[in-house]
Symmetry: C2
Subunit: 426 residues, 2 copies
C-alpha cells in the first residue's frame, strides 16, 4: 500500500459506547465519506467520558494519523467534557463566540421553543485556538484545530463534532468533506464489491486462488461472508490520474467472470435495493405477506427512497386469524399442514397477490425463537413462497441462530429468491 | 472511581469496519456481558487487516487493560491474519490441534455438507502457547493467551474470537464469561436507567442540578438524549458486599421522584418492550396500520420474543388503494384531506381495529423523504392515530431528519403515545 495516502482516526467519546448501551453507527458513515475522498481510516477508537482516557487516545491518534475526527461529549450536561479538554489539550482558553451565541438563541426561540438556560449559553463558549463550524441542526458547534506533531513536524488536523447523527452529518457535508477534499485531491481509494450466493468463502477462495495470488500489490481482496452469502471486495489505493481505477475495474471484471456461477449482484448494495432496481427496470410491482418476519421484509423494502414506485403494501399476519381473514388461507390448510408449511405460505402468496394486485409477491412463515419450536419443526424452520400470479415457488430453510438473526436471514433470503426468480424469467 | 476494578479493551479486526462497510454490533454486546460481571470496558478499538496496525494496538491495549478481547480475522482466506500474528506476538509456533481438527471435519461432513478443503484443515492450526476454546457454531476456534506485562508484572489475558456474531456469542457464553467471573467476583458495576419524554436534557439537568452535585463520587450520572426523549443513567462501581448497589438504588428512587413529571419507564428497555409488558399485564392485544413507516413499527413490536401473545398483525398500506380496500379509508377522505392527515390516520385506525379485532391500535402516515414533500406538508410531516375502538387520539409531528431517522422517530412516537394512552386509562 502506498504510504502517501492521507490517514485518519475516528474517535468516539461516551460511556454509553463502552457499556454497550448504544451501537455506533456514526463511525461507519464517517469512514465511508472519508474513503470516498481518498482518506484511509487507520483506526476507530471509542473511549469513555474520562479525561485521562481521552487525552491518551488523542496522544496516540496524533502520532499515527494525519486527521482525527472526534464525535461526542459536546452536550450541555456535566458528563460532557470534550470541549474544555480540547481547549486544554491545544493550550487555548475558553471564549464566547458571538456567532454561536446568536445561533443558540435563535434555535431555542424559534425551533425548540423552550426557555433558554444559562447552561445552554455555555454552548457558545469555545477554545480561542479553534476555528468554529456552525451547526445548523443543533446548538453544539463543530471545532477545527490544527497542531504540529512534535516528532514528525507534520501538520495534524483535529476536528470535534457532536455525536447526534444528523448534526454530525450536517457538519461533515457542509464543511469538513469539502475542505478535506482539497487536501487529498491527488489520492484515490477505489472499492468494488460483488455479492455471491451458493458457495462458502473457502470454496470461492480455492476457486480463485491463482488469480488472487497474482493481484498487484496495490489491490487487496477481502471476503465478507454474511447471511449465508459472500461479498467479495477489491480495494485499490493510488494517485489520482494513475491507472489505479482502471486496474481495479479490470480486475473486478475478471473476478465477476471467475465467480459468475454464484454471482448475484455486481455492486455493494443490499438485496432490497437490487430487487427494487430490477422492479423499476421491468416496471413491475411487489407486495409482501409476513408472519414470522413481522414487518422486517416490508421495512427493508421501504427503507429505499422511491420504493413507493413498486412497493404497494404488506399484510403482517402474525395471528392465524389474519392469515385466514385477510389473506384467505383456508382453515383446513392451517389445520392439516400448520402455519409453517409450504402449503400455507403458498396460499398466503396467492391471497396476497389477489388482494394487492401486484405483479410479484413474497410470503414467509417460520419459527424465529427462542420459543415455539417442536421436534417436527424446530426453531429456525422457515417456509418462503415467491413468484407471480402465474407461477409460484416455495423453499424452506433451517436457520439456527437467535431471533433477530433468524428474522434477518429469512427476509434477505426472501428477497434473494424473488430476485433470482425475476431474473430467470427473462 | 475505584482503581481496583478490572478493565478490558475490545479490539475488532477487519478493513470492513474501517471503510464503513459493516456496523460493529459485536462490541456493544460484549461490553454488556463484561459490565454484567463487573469488568469495566475502558476502550474499544477497530483496526484493519494490517499486521503493523494490529501489533501496535495490542501493545497499547496490554499496557492499559487487564483483559483484551479480540474479534475477527480468523477466517480461512488470505485476508485473515490474526492467528499467525498472535502466534508470533506471544512467541509460539503453529501446531495442529487434534480436537479442533476432528471438529472441523465433523462440521463440514454433517452440518455444512460441503467438501473439506486443505485451507479448512488449516483452521485446526493454532499457536502452541494458547488454550484452545472449541467453537460449537463454526470452524475457527477461540484462543486464550496469558502474558506478563513487562512494566507492571501484572498478568494480562488476551482472548481471540471469531467475528461472526453467533460464534463469538457462543464462545463468550460457554467459556469466557464463566471464567472471567471467577476473576472478578469481588467487583460490581451497577447501572440503572430511566426514560423521560417531554423535556430537553438541559432543562432536566437544571432541574436536578443540586441533587446531581451531591451524588457520591462512586456514582456517575449520564444523559442520553435520543428520539427527542432523554434517558438518564446512574452507574456505580464498587466491591461486592459493599453498599454500592443499595446506594445506586436509593439514588435511582430519588431521581425518579425528581423527574416524575416526564418519567415514562424506570428501566433500560426500548419502547416496544415497555408497551409489550404493559399489554401482557393488562391482557390486551394490539395491531398496527402503517403507511410511511412501511413495516418498521410492526418489526419493532415483533422483535420482542413472545410478542405473539399480544400482537396480532399489521396492514402496510403503502399504496392508497390498500388504505381503501383493506382498511376501508373512504376515497373522499383521501381526496379531501390527503393521505397524510388526521382524518386519514383516524380512519386507518378505525378500519384496522374493525378488521383485526384487537383492543388497541396505532396508525401512521407521513412523508419520510427525501422526496414527496410539498409547501403545505413538508418532508417530515407525520400524523399518528392511536387508541381503542371506544376512544382514539391523533397527533402530528414535523421531523426534519433523513429518511431512516424519520421512520424511526415516527415508530417510537407511535409506541410512546399509545403507551401513555393506555397508562392514562387506569
Amino acid at each position: 500500500m502506498s504510504s502517501s495516502v492521507i490517514t485518519a482516526s475516528i474517535m468516539t467519546i461516551g460511556d454509553e459506547l463502552l457499556i454497550g448501551q448504544t451501537i455506533d453507527t456514526n463511525s461507519a458513515w464517517m469512514a465511508q465519506q472519508l474513503n470516498a475522498i481518498g482518506i484511509w481510516v487507520k483506526r476507530r477508537v471509542a473511549v469513555g467520558d474520562e479525561r485521562a482516557e481521552i487525552w491518551q487516545a488523542l496522544d496516540e491518534a496524533i502520532v499515527s494519523s494525519d486527521i482525527i475526527l472526534i464525535t461526542g461529549g459536546l452536550g450541555p450536561t456535566a458528563d460532557d467534557i470534550t470541549k474544555p479538554l480540547l481547549g486544554d489539550y491545544f493550550g487555548g482558553k475558553m471564549i464566547v463566540n458571538e456567532e454561536v451565541l446568536e445561533h443558540v438563541k435563535y434555535i431555542f426561540q424559534h425551533i425548540l421553543k423552550r426557555p433558554l438556560l444559562e447552561r445552554n449559553l455555555k454552548q457558545a463558549e469555545v477554545p480561542d485556538n479553534c476555528r468554529v463550524l456552525i451547526n445548523k441542526n443543533g446548538t453544539a458547534p463543530g471545532m477545527w484545530f490544527e497542531k504540529k506533531d512534535s516528532s514528525s513536524e507534520a501538520k495534524k488536523i483535529i476536528i470535534s463534532l457532536p455525536g447526534v447523527p444528523h448534526e454530525m452529518k450536517g457538519l461533515m457535508k457542509t464543511y469538513i468533506i469539502p475542505e478535506l477534499t482539497t487536501l487529498t485531491n491527488h489520492q484515490v481509494i477505489i472499492h468494488r464489491t460483488l455479492l455471491t450466493a451458493g458457495a462458502g468463502e473457502s470454496f470461492i477462495a480455492e476457486h480463485i486462488q491463482a488469480w488472487e495470488n497474482n493481484l498487484p500489490e496495490r489491490i487487496k481482496l477481502a471476503y465478507l461472508p454474511n447471511y449465508g452469502m459472500v461479498r467479495l471486495r477489491l480495494t485499490g489505493k493510488g494517485q489520482q490520474g494513475s491507472d489505479i481505477e482502471k486496474m481495479v475495474d479490470h480486475k473486478f471484471i475478471e473476478l465477476q467472470q471467475l465467480v459468475k456461477e454464484w454471482l448475484v449482484i455486481e455492486s455493494d448494495e443490499p438485496m432490497e435495493k437490487a430487487l427494487g432496481d430490477l422492479l423499476i427496470q421491468k416496471n413491475k410491482t411487489i407486495a409482501t405477506a409476513e408472519s414470522c418476519t413481522g414487518g422486517y421484509l416490508a421495512h427493508l423494502l421501504t427503507s429505499i427512497p422511491g420504493s413507493s414506485a413498486y412497493y404497494k403494501g404488506s399484510v403482517i399476519a402474525y395471528d392465524n386469524k389474519v392469515k385466514e381473514e385477510i389473506l384467505q388461507v383456508r382453515n383446513n390448510t392451517l389445520k392439516e399442514y400448520g402455519a409453517v408449511s409450504s402449503e400455507t405460505v403458498l396460499e398466503m402468496l396467492q391471497g396476497l397477490l389477489a388482494k394487492m394486485g401486484t405483479d410479484y409477491g413474497i410470503a414467509v412463515s417460520g419459527i424465529m425463537g427462542p420459543a415455539g419450536g417442536s421436534e417436527d419443526k424446530p426453531t429456525g424452520t422457515v417456509w418462503i413462497a415467491f413468484g407471480s400470479a402465474e407461477k409460484q415457488r416455495t423453499i424452506s430453510f433451517h436457520f439456527r441462530f437467535d431471533r433477530q438473526r433468524n428474522i434477518q436471514l429469512t427476509a434477505v433470503h426472501g428477497l434473494l429468491n424473488l430476485f433470482k426468480f425475476i431474473q430467470s424469467e427473462s
